[in-house]
Symmetry: C2
């Protein structure tokens, strides 16, 4: 009898052998962006002036060209031709960027090469040694390169000479770097004028910003690395904008009126090199002015328009001048409740709304060949998918969705505005790339990735739409074990982020999840994630409900997810864990302390535990200043709630976290200690706001082992 | 049959009802020095010039006097008399100090009062306002008070005027405070000459000592508190000695020759106010010179003698001038293998060994009435007990043990040298106080404390003497559950310290144990502690075996303890935990990593994990410098052994530990992380090298809960 059972089991085992490979935690953590990343076409790009794309051949030895609609690709050039053109042996095809019809550039070994192609012959147009410094900003036309060393800004001119734009000995004056801690869409600190002769740059004065000490334990003795960290309600940095003229070598600073701690955001040049446009935002972040400045005098020409909102305004995109028109631009605004585009002229005259609808504009792709329509990548109404819309610059018409297929799409428009590269995935498509017409008709299927988990035991995610208490649809994702059996009961791991500017659940391959969740599911858990109100890509109202009361509505929505789990029947809702990082750590800890009967275990990484300790720019947008919102700060200060803890809580922090400083966690641990309440803490020495590299395997092992131990 | 057994058990249970109160963890941690501290006679002291002691009456309203041999005590004065003498109402008897035959002093509300008593009448001789500053050093004869503010040294003279002795703006120059991090017996930085007119003081220059950063998380944002921390092999502090003359207001600095990082230890005055004696120790700590300096010129008069040892020399006591003899003093030395006293004259002439034997001299009590015998408190040969010896100043005789009774005794000699107060406890005596003759005969039984655990369930400790591999006797303590049943198997907690200058096991009440160990025992553990070689009160060879190879022999001896536990039969040696703090944390972690099969769980608090991170003075004594002992440093660097971990390890650290800085633990955690090995860590925010106050309940709860969870 025993023998027979054994044989049956063996039989089953053999039968499913093809799907039997276990996805280890190491596979999951380190492999997601490596061996398990779906294959793609390398260096795929539109060639300028043609309806044709180029890309690397599979062996990486040729650059291929494929005309739209052609059945096959052809070799444009190979390594031999490139080596000949350069005069040196090249062993690997570089990542090229098309600069003009038959001209491309690439970087190799610290040099930027500009090549011309005629027939099969390549010739070198120019080569430029790139400075080995930070924040390089290269204007290819003028061949000027801006960069920073420590707190100062420099330019390397086309002769290779170094020009010091600033020379502040005081390290508190920082030039040429991003300001406002990368908020308001700010990602850099230098902005070349279109002709490359003038350099606009951000400068911040951090004299009044408090120091925060971080300890480097790798030296003997440990040494101090001090960072500037402006905490909510405290003194901030002071921004200004300089304009450096590469001919006169003179800098003038824009004469921006207003309190010194206001924000100078979304700097953009006008096409004629005469004006820069800045969205000035007050420190309260409820008022924005789009200002036009004369770069010769530095004076304000005009405030083109203003935007206000009782909660907050948050410009995140600079002016986008309409190609071929020096007097009109598009402006991004959430003023109708969703991020959309509005047309203005350079005198500030409003010319109409261009995109519209209960979806969110994400990216301007360019104009179509008629120059009358702008192509815009955006979400659909569910927020789960992205697509492309064609909208009339003249306005008045409902933008037309060009690609009907759901999924997460990334588009790139040909230089002539006739076709789009459509790069996409969905729950069942790991990755695919095609060329489509502006009517959404497929012209070429360039690539379809194989399932990267072939042979591995892995389940497919499920998407589910739930309803918040007020009826708002909420998107959620459920991952079951690969060998899911609905007659069993599974403990649950809820992974949460929950904060603004992020979306966890999408109609994409893996549904937006990290691979460790599939590994954890196979260990016998349901792994669930819900994008509560406050998360992105669902419009301003959905997001801004969090204002002045962070976590309140977010938790309410997370509990809708918990109710759903309870309704399933196969979820062991007496054994639920919640885990999140950063804002998700704040959510995790808030849930453990404010809804102590829901989760048995919580693991919070790098959590905000007190908004007094978080930065001014992000913190005051959502919470206002501490003195303006004392109740909100008090209510969200987690140390006021430690006595509620019922389950097991593990707090985790990188010891040199410069985003959510470790003070958040240590002050919360202190509150637990002084109230005599046991909980756990683990530090990741010398890691910043996230644990990366191979140590991340340790982190996820720590998290999952803790959950497993405590759910026993 | 079952019924009968039940009745028997109930009978036993009822019989012991009086012992049924549970000793909670809070009782154990907070109560040991409070409600569970054995009662004692308050403010017991010899009256000057009489064979009589004084003490507070039980209600604290009278000062009692008891003549030696008298059957009862009598009232010396009461609160009313004191109030009358002071001219203000006094509600509580102060702690008095006899200054002369009928004169005493006491401090109240920041003032130092000096009173005279005649019959029943008290009169106030003087009153002095004490500065509200640090490091007060009051010379009562001259009424000069030395004190420090920040890094400088001041004196308040008898008129109350403040005189600045030093005025260094550079905070690196610190005057009037202890130097050498309290090593070499150094406990203060000011030394009044016998006549109170000259002030000798230590000064250290910390310019070259590296800063170590500590984070204060109680401010917003967290702020930095930097300490000076000299790590082994790095640059040290530089000491000198100043002599301030209160008449001329001039300071001269002693002209001490030698490398600037040598140690100036055990400063002591000669009785004639002309010379100071300093034990100069080289940085290598293997050579000491007893130097005599002229305080007028600052010059060296003579090196009286030198001591060297291939391992280390460690002078810890200043010269002790023989009362009534300005030319002779006793010197403490371990030169014959045990700490003993040697007589010299002020020209450095050796006059003979005074105490001798395989026991350790601890304290000079004074001379007997003949002035020929010195009374010395010391250990017995087992190290478990302390007693008192009478030794001939002339030498040549074996010192005589005066008190035969074992136990831990503290003695105080009457001013005439005729009787001793003997304050003692042993395993069965919580606390007792008597007066004995110099022949050890009891004259008065002053006090016998009741068992403070009356009604509580608590066991008696057991002492056991084991043998190290080389035959050295090792003292150990075993605590069993109060309801111990030898037919059961009990898991084990080994509590370890193991480092020099400490002894865990003595023949005293509780046997030297902390009360939490008795609490833990009642939860069903055997709690065991062994004083391995390296611990104190057993002589130089016993201690110095650790030299250059910390933990090696110490662990070997701890394993002797483990073998003993295995031999008992009732110890569940598959379930053993080890716990220790500081050096004991180093021992705990070393045992977990170097003998990974012995303990299933380790909890290490504030551990040294790398002797490169420990201080120069202590570290280089035992380990030499890193460059002199690379193998020793490497072998004891625990991060080199993380891969051996088999059991569960919890590391604990106070976040502002300024003794064993948190870098020790964080660097070890980093090694575990980078090797992918799970373990645990818990920080005590804003606690220094130990966790005190009510947070200590949390600490011990954390420790014991961890052990309980992981031994399951």
């Amino acid at each position: 009898m025993k023998l027979i059972i054994l044989i049956v089991l063996l039989g089953l085992s053999f039968g499913s052998m093809a799907q039997d490979k276990e996805l280890t935690l190491e596979d999951a953590v380190l492999g997601q962006w490596r061996q398990f990343y779906p294959s793609y076409v390398t260096n795929l790009a539109w060639k300028k002036g043609e309806e044709a794309v180029t890309f690397h051949s599979k062996d990486g030895k040729e650059l291929m060209l494929q005309n739209v609609g052609a059945k096959t690709a052809q070799k444009l050039f190979d390594l031999a031709a490139l080596s000949k053109g350069l005069g040196v042996e090249v062993s690997r095809m570089p990542f090229i960027k098309w600069e003009a019809a038959n001209e491309f550039s690439f970087t190799s070994a610290g040099e930027r090469f500009w090549m011309r192609i005629e027939g099969e012959k390549l010739t070198q147009k120019s080569v430029l040694k790139m400075p080995k410094e930070a924040n390089l900003d290269h204007h290819k036309g003028a061949q000027n390169i801006a960069y920073t060393k420590d707190n100062n800004l420099y330019i390397q001119d086309k002769e290779g000479a170094e020009i010091a734009v600033t020379a502040f000995e005081d390290a508190n004056i920082v030039s040429g770097q991003a300001i406002a801690r990368y908020e308001f869409g700010i990602g850099k600190g230098t902005f070349w004028s279109p002709n490359g002769m003038l350099l606009a740059f951000y400068q911040k004065d951090e004299t009044d910003v408090a120091d925060y000490p971080l300890l480097d334990i790798t030296t003997t003795p440990g040494t101090l690395k001090t960072i500037k960290y402006p905490m909510a309600g405290q003194k901030s940095e002071y921004a200004r904008v300089g304009i450096f003229n590469t001919k006169t070598k003179q800098t003038i600073y824009l004469n921006v009126k207003g309190p010194k701690d206001q924000y100078l955001t979304n700097l953009g040049w006008g096409p004629e090199n005469k004006f820069v446009y800045i969205a000035v935002v007050n420190r309260e972040q409820n008022h924005a002015w789009l200002n036009k400045y004369d770069v010769k005098t530095g004076d304000l020409v005009k405030t083109l328009f203003e935007e206000t909102h009782e909660k907050y305004v948050e410009p995140e995109h600079p002016v986008w001048f309409i190609p071929g028109n020096n007097n009109e631009f598009l402006w991004w605004s959430e003023r109708d409740g969703f991020m959309h585009l509005y047309r203005y002229n350079t005198d500030g005259k409003y010319l109409g709304q261009v995109t519209k609808g209960k979806w969110v504009a994400l990216k301007i792709l360019g104009l179509d060949e008629t120059k009358k329509m702008v192509l815009v990548q955006g979400t659909d109404e569910s927020g789960l998918n992205t697509t492309v819309y064609s909208a009339s610059l003249a306005g008045g018409k409902t933008p037309k969705r060009l690609v009907k297929e759901d999924g997460i799409h990334q588009f790139s428009l040909s230089s002539e505005g006739k076709h789009l590269i459509d790069d996409y995935s969905d729950l069942k498509t790991p990755h695919a790339t095609r060329i489509v017409t502006l009517k959404g008709k497929t012209k070429n299927n360039l690539h379809t990735a194989k399932n990267p988990y072939e042979g591995y035991k892995i389940s497919m995610p499920e998407l589910v739409t739930l309803k918040a208490k007020d009826g708002t649809p909420l998107q959620a994702r459920l991952i079951k074990p690969a060998d899911f059996d609905p007659s069993k009961k599974y403990p649950v791991i809820v992974y949460v982020y929950g904060g603004p500017h992020a979306q966890m659940v999408t109609n994409s391959w893996l549904a937006g999840a990290r691979l460790w969740m599939y590994h954890a599911a196979n260990k016998g858990y349901l792994v669930f994630t819900l994008d509560n109100r406050g998360s992105s890509n669902r419009g301003f109202e959905f997001e801004s409900v969090i204002h002045r009361q962070l976590s309140k509505n977010e938790m309410e929505d997370q509990l809708v997810g918990v109710d759903y789990l309870k309704s399933l029947g196969y979820a062991d809702t007496d054994k639920m864990a919640v885990h999140g990082w950063s804002y998700g750590g704040f959510m995790t800890t808030s849930l453990m302390l404010k809804h102590p009967d829901v989760f048995k275990v919580g693991v919070a990484g790098g959590p905000v535990t007190d908004w007094n300790y978080y930065e001014i720019m992000y913190g005051e947008r959502y919470m206002d200043m501490p003195k303006e919102n004392p109740v909100g700060y008090e209510e969200t200060q987690l140390k006021n709630h430690v006595k509620n803890l019922k389950g097991d809580l593990l707090l985790i922090h990188g010891t040199v976290d410069d985003v959510v400083v470790m003070q958040h966690n240590l002050s919360l641990v202190q509150a637990f200690v002084s109230n005599g309440i046991l909980m756990d803490f683990f530090p990741y020495p010398m890691h910043p706001h996230n644990v990366r590299g191979t140590d991340r395997v340790h982190l996820m092992n720590k998290v999952l082992t803790y959950i497993e131990d405590k759910l026993k």
